[in-house]
C-alpha cells in the first residue's frame, strides 16, 4: 500500500467514529519500489492529498524527515522537493503492518501490501 492510498482511507464507517483520519500506520515491513517520476501528475495529485496526513504517515514509516511540515506556496517549482514527495507518495510501499483508527483504536491488518478494512456488521454505523 502506497502512502497516496493511505491518504485516501478513513475508518469513519465505524460506529461512533466521526473522522477516522488519518489512520496511524504501524509498519513491520516497508519497501521502496521505483515508479517513473512524472511531475505534472505529482502536482495534480497533491491537490487531492491531505498534506499533514501524508507528513505524519511518512514519518511513521521512516521516510518523512525530508518533507516540510507545511507545503510552501512555491512547491511546484521545487523539483528536489517534488521528487521527495514522489518518493513518499508513490514509491514507499507498506508491505506488512497495521492501520489503527485514531479514535477507536480498531486495528486493520496490512498483509502482502493489501490493507484489510473489513468490519463486522455490529461495528458499522447504520
Amino acid at each position: 500500500m502506497k502512502l497516496l492510498t493511505h491518504n485516501m482511507l478513513t475508518s469513519s464507517v465505524i460506529k461512533g467514529v466521526t473522522k477516522g483520519f488519518p489512520l496511524k500506520i504501524v509498519a513491520s515491513k516497508v519497501e521502496v519500489r521505483e515508479v517513473d517520476y512524472n511531475e505534472p501528475f505529482i502536482i495534480k495529485t497533491l491537490s487531492k492529498v491531505d498534506w499533514p496526513a501524508l507528513h505524519q504517515a511518512a514519518n511513521e514509516v521512516g521516510y518523512g524527515e525530508d518533507l516540510p511540515i507545511e507545503l510552501g506556496e512555491d512547491f511546484q517549482k521545487d523539483e528536489t522537493l517534488l521528487r521527495k514527495i514522489h518518493n513518499a507518495l508513490l514509491q514507499v510501499d507498506i508491505i506488512e503492518g497495521e492501520l489503527v483508527c485514531p479514535e477507536s483504536g480498531r486495528k486493520f491488518p496490512i498483509s502482502n501490501g493489501i490493507p484489510n478494512m473489513l468490519l463486522s456488521e455490529h461495528e458499522v454505523s447504520s
Binding site: 492510498t5 485516501m8 464507517v13 483520519f21 515508479v35 501528475f41 487531492k48 502482502n112 493489501i114
Partner: protein, 215 residues
Amino acid sequence: MSDRFKTPLLGNVRDEDFNQVYEPAEDSFLLLDALEKEDNFLQTLKPTVCVEVGCGSGICITFLSQLLEYPALFICTDINPKAAEMTQLTALRNGKVVEIVVCNLVDTLEERLAGTVDVLLFNPPYVVTPSSEIASADITASWAGGVRGREVTDKLLPKVKSLLSSNGVFYLVAIQENDIDDIQQLMCKNGFRMTCVASRRAGREFLTVLKFVRQ
C-alpha cells in the same frame, strides 16, 4: 493491434482459485470491450483517479491501467481478500501498478475520494437471487444480487454523485432483469445521463454496459 488493447493475463492462478474468486466471463469481457470502445473518450478525459469496485480477478482495472498510457492512480476494492490477492498478481503479471483495498464497496474511501474519481467501474453481482445470498463469505457474493439482482448495485448508485469529479464517468454492468429503465430514472434524478456502450447476449443473460456522465 496496440498492446493497450490486449486482454490482460491473469496472475499465476490455479484452477481451484476460481472456487473462491470470480473467473472472468462474458460480463468481464464485455466491460473490457466497452472500455476499448471508449478509448477516445477516456484519452480525452485524462483521468487522474480511477476506481473499480469489486475487482475480482483484477482483469478490468488492469485493462484500464494499460489502456491509459499516462500516470493515474488506480485503486480497486473487493470484499473478498482472495480476490484482492489475485488482483495484485494480475496487475503485477501485466507490469501494472494497482492499489487494492479489502472493504465493502467504497466504505473506507468515499469520504476522501469525494469529487475526485474520474473513472468509476462496477461489474456488480447482478444475478437475481434470494436476498439471503448477498454478501456471503464465499464466491456467491461475486454474483448474487438479491431482488431484481439490484441490491448491491443500489447501494453504490446513490454514492456515484458525490464520488465522481465534475467530468467523471461511471461504467456499470447490468442485465435486463436489473430493470435498466429504473436505473436510468434513479441516476437521472441524481443528475446523470445514461447511455448504453455495449450489449451482448451470453446464454440466458442479456448483458449491457451502461455509461453515466453528468447532464
